[in-house]
Symmetry: C2
Subunit: 353 residues, 2 copies
């Protein structure tokens, strides 16, 4: 494990020159730079992040704070973030923020993050007031993906707009009994996302003079199993909805499973729409509002890197794009054919609108 010193003596220059040459700093002759680069490659030299972190204050690492890795959205954001960080020679350092308040406090209060990471990217966290304050005053560049905090840069869907679009797609098909499976997530995780989508549903219905009965709304906790349970009870009621808007594709999957189990045909007996365009949504034939968390992650990473590089970035919330993808899970009200659909029906052909 050669050090900068080895490289320096190897080519008969000072360590300072090696440092400058390798980092592409000015005031190094073309000749010297090439010499140094060759030597570094030859010796398999890799700078120690600890050393440069200590001396230069740049750790070449960013922390990504998430509630869990097991959800599609998060995992995609992580991969997006990592893809750009890696290319820039930065490391990604995972902070899984369990809902344990205790743990969280330590993480945030401590300069712990500050001493190891140059920047912070947070997802799906429902920050406490204290944390918001800290976040706003952090020394390091920070960005939030999916869910805004005043004074901090962020990128994410306009949940109101998406929720409205989803509901209106169903209304446009003639549905009036439209249920909603939402996400009041576990403690400590983002609340606003689920709430905003639910409000949008309510408002869109209200705009059409509709007011859903209480049992047309249930909590799916953003996961398949609970969404399935929620959908099942909703679909068993005598005045069951003819369409369900699920707050995420995973919850929509749960609804589809419930429908299958109850012998309901989709979309003849029940239409289902979700949000995300999960990797599996096509296989489920699910109509959804596509968003691209991988790209959101990339943007977040690029943004904090820009800031680190001294490029000014306005503090603002970037609205991530979304688009309706119509598949086989939604159809006009009363489309019920007399018999089962043909086996070759192209249930999975997406149609971007």
């Amino acid at each position: 494990m050669s050090s900068i010193h080895d490289v320096a003596t190897y080519c008969g220059v000072s360590t300072a020159t090696v440092s400058r040459a390798l980092r592409g700093l000015p005031n190094v002759s073309r000749q010297t730079r090439e010499l140094v680069q060759a030597a570094a490659a030859e010796l398999g030299y890799v700078p120690s992040p600890s050393a440069s972190g200590l001396s230069g204050g740049r750790h070449r690492a960013v922390a990504i704070v998430i509630p869990s890795t097991a959800r599609w959205f998060y995992s995609k954001v992580i991969e997006g973030v990592d893809s750009v960080l890696r290319r820039e020679g930065y490391d990604t350092f995972l902070v899984i923020l369990a809902a344990t308040l205790n743990d969280r406090e330590r993480l945030f209060h401590n300069a712990l993050l500050r001493k190891r990471a140059d920047a912070l990217i947070a997802l799906g966290i429902d920050f406490t007031d204290e944390e918001r304050r800290e976040l706003r005053s952090v020394q390091m560049p920070a960005m939030i993906v999916g869910g805004a905090v005043r004074g901090v840069r962020s990128v994410g869907l306009d949940d109101g707009a998406v929720g409205r679009a989803a509901t209106e797609h169903l209304l446009g098909l003639g549905h009036t009994r439209i249920g909603h499976i939402g996400g009041h997530t576990e403690y400590g995780m983002q609340h606003s996302v689920g709430e905003d989508r639910e409000s949008a549903w309510r408002n869109a219905l209200a705009a059409h003079g509709l007011q859903p009965p209480p049992h047309h709304h249930a909590d799916g906790a953003f996961v398949v199993p609970q969404a399935k349970v929620a959908a099942r009870s909703m679909l068993r009621s005598p005045d069951r909805p003819t369409a369900i808007f699920a707050g995420s594709d995973e919850m929509a999957f749960g609804a589809l499973l419930a429908a299958t189990e109850l012998g309901l045909r989709v979309p003849e007996d029940l239409s289902v729409i979700g949000i995300d365009d999960h990797d599996w949504s096509d296989a489920f034939g699910l109509t959804t509002l596509r968003q691209q968390p991988f790209e959101q992650g990339r943007l977040a990473a690029r943004t904090v890197l820009d800031e680190l590089n001294g490029i000014p970035v306005p503090v603002r919330t970037t609205r991530a794009p979304f688009e309706l993808v119509v598949r086989a899970s939604t159809g006009p009200l009363g489309s019920a054919p007399a018999q089962a659909p043909a086996q070759d029906a192209p249930r999975s052909t997406p149609t971007a609108v």
Copy 2:
């Protein structure tokens, strides 16, 4: 951001004493230790990992090398690893090893040499000979989850045993036309897992004098969409299998979706078994062989930490436990009832065997 020096002067001792006191080292009087601890808390002191990494050689971080975060197994392992690391005050560095050979080389080299991590945990990577060599000779503790490398500690299923158990469950139900959806994954990812499960399937059938026709095997690439495609073509053949053993639950989901689409009843017309006990398997009513990646991750983390703490750990492969969980997706051959199942059928009640 106070340093060790601040704490030292604050309580009138040397930095060495502070260091010793805070790390629980011997040769510090109870009094002094408490004084120092109080001062540290008071000043909000947090040791800089860069500094202690540089001087002491302990970075209090471990790197976890994975092909992707988006798969259930990986995400669970990550969470397991992180849960024990965090408790011990260690950080988790993510190294997402894209299949790009070019990139990999650099990454692997760096991950090992960069000296940012004290230990290495790798999952689902199909190491090159070069990498194996490096791994074996690494300076730092290393552990592999799911898929062994000679000379490196590892934990994972006995894929042969699991594959046999799955196939035998179906054989035991009277099935003889048993298909397999396997995983020949993308370049650079673990091959042996998919291969061993497939061999086990073949061997179990052979042991019963059965030899599956070529079209009863297809590649599902360990993901839902491709598994669905694979299952669909398999199920359309005139002599379609009456049961499918999928190499993972995600692929089994794909098979179930294909069955639904083709109007096949499960388990009357088709039985399906997977491996994993994915979080959603219960919702799908999927019979499976349960493994516990979270626990495997915990074990891996504990193992490398033990090594770091000087506790001797034999170099060996630990077989992770698995158990059959029978749900509604498998049933005896020819169990076909005349009509659709009752709506209230408890499809999801698991039965651990």
